[in-house]
């Protein structure tokens, strides 16, 4: 009986000892950051258009599919042909990130492929107000993140049509 118990214990200890010498599987987070996969659903951004125009036409579909109604849009007419080729644009566009589920439905729905979810995941802020992502913030986010995909396919997110086949 005792011998059996001791062998069982030794077996367990040998496993822990083996782990002791194997490679580390942890990361020191704030110093070493993990790069998520291309499909990651992180903070939203606006994808810049081919010629620096705004893609969003304030159609409101993203706000309609959003399960938590965290997108607020106010549309307006623009005279600036270069910036807003379709005339209609979003004068106010804001996402309340603290209510967001990060489901990605807004990205899936957008017919202009304007709104997208980036790979950024560190979103801790000090006040609630900072969690409201306004249009300027989203555009800046897009320019910062999405340099290589300007005008092209959705490279950064790597996600094609999510709704369709």
């Amino acid at each position: 009986m005792i011998v059996r118990h001791i062998t069982a214990l030794l077996k367990g200890l040998s496993i822990t000892l083996k782990e002791f010498f194997s490679r580390k599987s942890t990361q020191q987070y704030p110093e070493e950051k993990r790069q998520p996969y291309a499909a990651y659903r992180g903070i939203h951004y606006f994808r810049p258009g081919e010629n620096g125009e705004e893609r969003c036409v304030a159609c409101g579909l993203c706000a309609a599919v959003c399960p938590n109604h965290c997108i607020f849009i106010e549309a307006a007419e623009s005279e600036d042909e270069l910036k807003h080729p379709e005339r209609q644009y979003a004068e106010i566009y804001s996402i309340m990130l603290e209510r967001c589920l990060f489901c990605g439905y807004c990205e899936e729905a957008c017919p202009k492929q304007a709104i997208a979810l980036s790979r950024r995941y560190d979103m801790a802020v000090n006040t609630r107000n900072q969690m409201i992502y306004t249009k300027d913030k989203l555009l800046a986010e897009g320019l910062e993140l999405d340099e290589e995909s300007v005008g092209g396919e959705i490279k950064k997110t790597g996600r094609r049509s999510l709704w369709g086949a």
Partner: protein, 383 residues
């Protein structure tokens, strides 16, 4: 009287148990639930069928994909929608991986509660790999939302198969490692054998399901008894225990690891080519390419996504085998775009009811082992 929880490391969340003690022996106990109540069933009444999907992630948040499956299959059943074979197979793969991930959390925390801390670290290391597979596929690690009514959210990425095959090669040896650490360990045996016994008859009466029921020797598994997705295609054994104590439930879940691995392997070998979405334009939105080119597809997309689709009036119950037991969705539709009423049968909630029968007369420390062996998730208990 003793008040355990809601902030107690061994109650797996925010469970509060009010205990009446006689020294170390439990005389009476009353679980007090509801600290994590978010009213998901009520919220679902104001969401379109697609919008309910992300909510189901938040039921049992360590097995989100299986909750997603339960929900989309319920809606598909109500709509009479047939899903392509490829989509079904991918669903099986993801769900079995999710089952392994959920059982890993169970094993880690259960062992931690009883005092074996190393197992927790190993389990989380392995689980990380499954999280990576999910992240690669759907972009989220916990709240996956990875299925859609009619099929899948996206085609499999290229790395997917490689990642899963790596995991399949890597994991079986790890199971043996856990086995070596625990199964014959005298402390583990002392803490689990003969503790929290529940007989088959009583287990059925309470309504236990999943490993908690199978540990008592009842071979009930919805994957076998009422196959969904395409589980009927794959061969696996339903492990059962004999005595219905904590140790038997532990052995059942350990065997389920091996069976899940085998199912994933079979499914990956079988994986047919073909569409991933059902051919049902009134339910499934058009592809992005079609929307970009075709005006009528664009209009259709607008209508479908902003309004949702109608589900025929009627009542539907559909259950899937979640890692914790039978996860059922009872859906009452009044023919509109939103559920009229949704009742979720959470396995954790029902299994928790057995806590009284199992723990009465036990030591307080054994109750911790029993809670661990029931594998409850408070997100699902309270909904």
């Amino acid at each position: 009287m003793l008040n355990m929880g809601p902030q107690h490391p061994s109650t797996h969340g925010v469970l509060r148990v009010v205990l009446e003690m006689d020294g170390e022996i439990i005389v009476d106990l009353r679980p007090d639930v509801g600290y994590l109540h978010r009213g998901i069933e009520k919220i679902a009444e104001h969401r379109t069928y697609n919008q309910v999907l992300p909510l189901t992630d938040r039921l049992d948040y360590v097995s989100a994909a299986i909750n997603n499956l339960g929900w989309v299959e319920t809606v598909e059943k109500a709509l009479g929608l047939e899903v392509p074979e490829r989509a079904k197979t991918v669903r099986v793969i993801l769900c079995e991986l999710q089952r392994i991930a959920s059982h890993l959390i169970w094993l880690g925390t259960h062992a931690l509660d009883i005092g074996a801390m190393t197992v927790l670290l190993y389990c989380f290391r392995e689980r990380e790999r499954i999280m990576d597979i999910f992240e690669n596929y759907c972009g989220a690690r916990l709240t996956t939302s990875c299925f859609r009514v009619g099929g899948l959210m996206r085609e499999l990425p290229e790395e997917f198969e490689g990642l899963v095959r790596d995991f399949l090669a890597y994991f079986p040896a790890r199971i043996e490692e856990y086995d070596g650490l625990l199964s014959a360990n005298p402390i583990w045996l002392k803490r689990t054998k003969g503790v929290g016994v529940i007989g088959a008859r009583q287990a059925i009466d309470i309504g236990l399901s999943g490993p908690a029921l199978r540990g008592s020797g009842v071979a009930r598994d919805i994957r076998v008894d009422e196959p969904y997705a395409n589980y009927e295609r794959f061969k696996f054994i339903v492990p059962v225990g004999k005595k219905g104590d904590v140790y038997d439930r532990y052995q059942v879940r350990m065997e389920e690891f091996r069976q899940s691995i085998s199912i994933v392997r079979q499914a990956l070998d079988y994986l047919p080519n073909g569409p991933i979405m059902a051919d049902a334009p009134q339910i499934v939105p058009p592809s992005k390419e079609a929307v970009a080119e075709d005006m009528s597809a664009l209009i259709h997309q607008f209508k479908l996504l902003s309004k949702g689709y109608k589900v025929p009036a009627g009542e539907i119950y559909h259950a899937v085998e979640a890692p914790k037991g039978e996860l059922g969705f009872y859906l009452v539709s009044d023919g509109s775009e939103m559920p009229y009423r949704l009742k979720i049968r959470g396995p954790s909630f029902v299994n928790l009811q057995a806590l009284y029968q199992m723990s009465k007369g036990c030591l307080l420390a054994d109750m911790v082992a029993i809670i661990g062996s029931l594998d409850i998730c408070l997100g699902e208990v309270d909904r």
